[in-house]
Symmetry: C2
Subunit: 191 residues, 2 copies
């Protein structure tokens, strides 16, 4: 069974065959570390589901510095919704931080699913609400939390990413300098 089947049956309570039924809206790809799946200026055509590996979405500022918007390890969905749903050119990049096995869901995937399993529609809505909750918490965290609080929340959200990516990339996600992150980690060890 794929992770996606498990994810859908867990979160949307649809039977495992649902993935097979919707497979026309689905593409299975294998991408090498460093591959870009989306570049700024393009229209994002897919939601990416990570079967194995690690993707991230980031923005580049005017000085060419990367700012990580989201990490997507196994069982995460990642996409630029502004671009996918409103047909706008994306401001973001999505790339593979590790060799990654990805399922590409086109924009019709969830519509098709909720047509086949009408009782899943509310659950799909709940997934959106969960996503909104995460984004709202992230904004609140960026505005009001100390570097240490941000880091501790990061560890809760992404328990193993710290071991999988360079420190500067986590610092970029947290909106702090790598030096601050090192300091925070040292202080936590002392506590």
């Amino acid at each position: 069974m794929t992770h996606l089947q498990h994810y859908l049956s867990e979160n949307l309570e649809v039977p495992k065959e649902s993935v097979t039924l919707c497979q026309e809206s689905l593409k299975h790809i294998q991408v090498a570390k460093g591959t870009q799946l989306l570049q700024a200026g393009e229209i994002c055509q897919y939601t990416y589901f990570v079967e194995k590996g690690l993707l991230r979405m980031f923005a580049l500022d005017r000085n060419g510095k990367e700012h990580v918007i989201q990490f997507a390890p196994e069982n995460w969905l990642i996409s630029d919704r502004s671009s996918l749903y409103f047909n706008e050119k994306s401001k973001f990049y999505i790339d593979a931080v590790e060799d990654t096995e990805v399922l590409m869901l086109n924009s019709g995937f969830f519509t098709e699913l909720s047509k086949l399993f009408p009782e899943s529609a509310d659950k799909i809505d709940l997934l959106l609400q969960k996503h909104i909750r995460n984004l709202q918490n992230r904004i609140s965290s960026l505005l009001s939390e100390t570097a240490e609080e941000r880091y501790l929340n990061f560890l809760k959200m992404y328990p193993d990413i710290m071991q999988r990516v360079p420190l500067w990339m986590v610092a970029s996600y947290l909106g702090i300098t790598p030096e601050s992150l090192s300091r925070v980690r040292k202080n936590l060890v002392k506590k």
Copy 2:
């Protein structure tokens, strides 16, 4: 016609009577400037639609400093979805920055609406996607934009708020100090 009727017929393409049909899920209230509609620790029960006036949602940090998460002038919806949809204690406050006329929509409002007008369900979904787009852009802005870029985007999103609230409150929304905001505004005048 209320702003809400206009908003719904515009965004969801439902007839203007829809508000009357759903009025059991709706409460009309008048709140004085400074009134708190939600406090941290409570469960958020409503989505607030602003007919006239101005609401805001904010977080308090451990030092008692306020951080503005969102402003809601006329025609905006504001709510803590984490709390409303997942029955969690809110981490946020919602209060009235001006004397405000508010429609309180309970959590069943949009469900009822989409039952009465099934063709509005996709449009309600699109509203959620728009909200997600805004949140995503806000995160990207907080991580990667300069104070000036943030301020210019703020003016696009909220053309008249600058005239309606004290400067420190806008600075708090932007995640910069009031001094930085003053500097940014002075530099823009010179340009």
